[in-house]
């Protein structure tokens, strides 16, 4: 069901999937930042389309959302943003369901997905859309050949997991711990158990929530993840630059450096995992 771009992105087994809110803190800088992520080694980029009520986000990304909205970001601007981006890696739109639902003249997710497909987006992550409510979006994605990524939480088990895994495509977003998005030192969390539960499924597993260093990335990938998703650690760099009034190029350089650290960590993790896997 997955479209080939995302399949390819995860092919090497240590995908680095960074997140930034599109338009944070302004359209132009944000373009530079996203492009810096690619230079730093991003395999897939999650682009946030900010919603006024981001119930799944921690303080770091909430503030990014506020900056982006104050900078004039809207769904229409978001699509302009995607159009303006000069990157080659697949882009996944991360947003809340109401924005997808309201877009266009008819109600329902189809116009939004159609537009996303037109612009070459590869898929969606919608944190407030559990599998139970996902049919209409799933159908639109199928129609236009986009992936629909679902999040699997540490509490997701049994029938629920089954239901999600039937619907997911592109990759599964493995939530490393309970709570909301945000950098956190302890990343061991319930990741191993979650990966274990998912081992039977053939979709790439990208782990997110709390990864902030190359070491974290390394450990996660070593533990069996096919990729790492990093948001808050990168948004922090944007926020800091914004507060200090640093120019966009400087911030972009820092983002690129951080991206490289994370990607390198993931690669190291993969390297260390391979022999172990052979040993068993």
């Amino acid at each position: 069901m997955s479209n080939p771009e995302l399949d390819a992105a995860f092919a090497d087994g240590a995908a680095f999937v960074p997140y930034l809110a599109a338009g944070d803190p302004d359209f132009e800088s944000s373009i530079e930042y996203v492009e810096a992520l690619e230079r730093g080694g991003a395999d897939v980029i999650e682009l946030g389309l900010p919603f006024s009520e981001p119930i799944a986000e921690g303080p770091t990304i909430q503030e990014a959302v506020v900056r982006s909205l104050e900078g004039g970001m809207t769904p229409a601007r978001f699509f302009e943003f995607v159009e303006a981006l000069d990157v080659d890696v697949p882009l996944v739109c991360m947003t809340y369901y109401n924005l997808i639902y309201q877009y266009g003249d008819e109600s329902g997710p189809r116009p939004f997905v159609e537009k996303a497909a037109e612009l070459g987006l590869s898929g969606f992550v919608v944190p407030d859309l559990p599998a139970e409510e996902a049919d209409p979006l799933r159908e639109a994605c199928d129609e236009f050949g986009l992936d629909l990524v679902f999040i699997v939480a540490p509490t997701t088990r049994g029938d629920r997991l089954e239901r999600i895994m039937e619907q997911v495509s592109g990759y599964v977003y493995v939530q490393a711990r309970l709570g909301v998005t945000g950098a956190q030192d302890d990343v061991s969390g319930q990741t191993a158990a979650s990966l274990d539960r998912l081992s039977a499924y053939d979709v790439p597993k990208a782990v997110g929530f709390g990864i902030k260093t190359g070491d974290h990335a390394e450990r996660i990938v070593e533990g069996g993840a096919d990729g790492i998703i990093v948001g808050s650690a990168l948004v922090d760099i944007v926020a800091e630059g914004h507060e200090n009034g640093d120019d966009a190029a400087t911030v972009a350089a820092r983002l690129e450096e951080k991206a490289r650290e994370l990607k390198d960590g993931a690669e190291r993790g993969l390297a260390q995992r391979a022999p172990q896997a052979e040993r068993t």
Binding site: S52, E53, D128, E132, I151, R160
Partner: protein, 408 residues
């Protein structure tokens, strides 16, 4: 979990297992009275909460409008509003579910105080999220929560009001979902909340229906209730929904005007049923105040208890079905009605409640011979707002404020 197209469960996956657990508990304890849950709930509502509340014949209003006006006196419930019906039900349910901690959001503070009371009564640790701006507007309620032993966590993100507090509480719940229950404050949120909160609140109409039969010898021709999120509304309507002869009026806050400022993202009212459009917020598909893109608007009402951009999905459904009439009155009319009821009946209503009486004043002729108005809460909490808001207007019947220039 649907009311027509409304309702549903639009929440982060991390919460879904808890929501499934809650659905199960709702079905077993609330719907099937397993382990005598509902019996214990009703008993505590009586002994701790003071139920039944009376349905009172309002002599002077009846005279004024030349029809029989009855008041369902939820203002007499412990805590001063209907909110305890739900808070007590949910905290008790959390106990039955083996949860060890309660979180809740609050806007004006009424749901927060009700939850804090229920949590103290049932010995459950409780944290309440409240927008910083609301904390500053509603200090007495903050203090009441603290007195009852609850933590009050200020929410500083965004405008610092109810909408942000709900989001923040959902985040806490998503983090601590295994041992924590989220006591949502209205008939909103993901299923089973809208249905469950309605069931806890439906004691209002259950009693009122019986009391009307006893006192008036008939069911009312119309039932009026103010509507913000809609918990007192659904509570007052639930048992009348099947009575075809009873018209149900959900009176929303028309604020200063029904017009919206798309540019600023501000709707200077809270009339989601009257003017909102379908969308998804806080876990449910319902009617919302949103801009063309789907961003949620900042709502407004002179009554902070009605100041919310969404509304319960079941109400949205009942309005679409034509069973409930969505109407609204503006801030000025509500404030005038606040003064009128205080003077005529010796009942100082919550500003929320005053909206229902403002509708009665303006439209009494369409309401039939027998009208039931739900007095959802008392107005003690609103004194400061009323002084301020009255001073900014020219309300004939308002008492002289001069002696109070110093505020409280």
């Amino acid at each position: 979990g649907k009311f027509g197209d409304y309702g549903g469960q639009y929440v982060p996956e991390a919460l879904m297992p808890a929501i499934e657990e809650l659905e199960d508990a709702y079905e077993r304890y609330v719907l099937a009275n397993e382990d005598g849950f509902m019996d214990e709930f009703r008993e505590r509502l009586a002994d701790f909460g003071g139920r039944p509340t009376p349905t009172q014949y309002a002599e002077r209003l009846s005279e004024r409008y030349d029809r029989d006006v009855y008041l369902k006196r939820e203002d007499l419930l412990h805590g001063g509003a209907h909110k305890l019906n739900n808070a007590l039900g949910q905290v008790l349910l959390a106990k039955y579910m083996g949860k060890e901690r309660i979180v809740a959001e609050t806007g004006a503070g009424q749901h927060g105080t009700a939850t804090a009371m229920a949590a103290a009564h049932l010995d459950m640790p409780c944290e309440v999220y409240m927008g910083e701006r609301d904390i500053n507007r509603q200090r007495p309620n903050v203090f009441r929560m603290k007195l009852n032993g609850s933590e009050v966590n200020p929410v500083t993100v965004g405008r610092g009001t109810l909408k942000e507090a709900i989001s923040e509480t959902m985040r806490d719940w998503a983090t601590n979902v295994e041992d924590t229950h989220y006591v949502i404050g209205s008939v909103v949120g993901p299923h089973p909340f809208p249905a469950m909160v309605r069931d806890f609140q439906s004691v209002i109409s259950e009693e009122a229906r019986e009391q009307m039969r006893e006192k008036a010898g008939t069911l009312p021709d119309s039932v009026l209730a103010c509507a913000g999120g809609g918990s007192n509304t659904m509570g007052a309507f639930a048992e009348f929904v099947d009575d075809d002869g009873v018209e149900l009026y959900a009176v929303e806050a028309g604020g200063s005007t029904l017009d919206v400022d798309e540019e600023a993202g501000v709707a200077p009212n809270s009339a989601s049923l009257s003017t909102g459009s379908e969308g998804v917020l806080h876990g449910a598909r319902t009617k919302l105040l949103q801009d063309r893109d789907g961003q949620i608007m900042e709502s407004h009402s002179v009554s902070s208890g009605l100041d919310y951009a969404g509304v319960g999905p079941e109400l949205a459904y009942l309005v679409d079905e034509g069973r409930v009439r969505a109407v609204n009155v503006d801030d000025d009319a509500a404030l005038t009605a606040f003064h009128r009821l205080s003077q005529l009946e010796g009942v100082i209503p919550a500003l929320e409640t005053a909206h229902a009486f403002a509708y009665l004043e303006a439209n009494d002729e369409e309401l039939g011979d027998t009208v039931l108005v739900n007095v959802s809460g008392r107005g003690d909490k609103d004194l400061e707002s009323v002084i301020e808001e009255t001073a900014q207007r020219d309300i004939d019947i308002a008492p002289d404020m001069d002696a109070f220039a110093g505020g409280f």
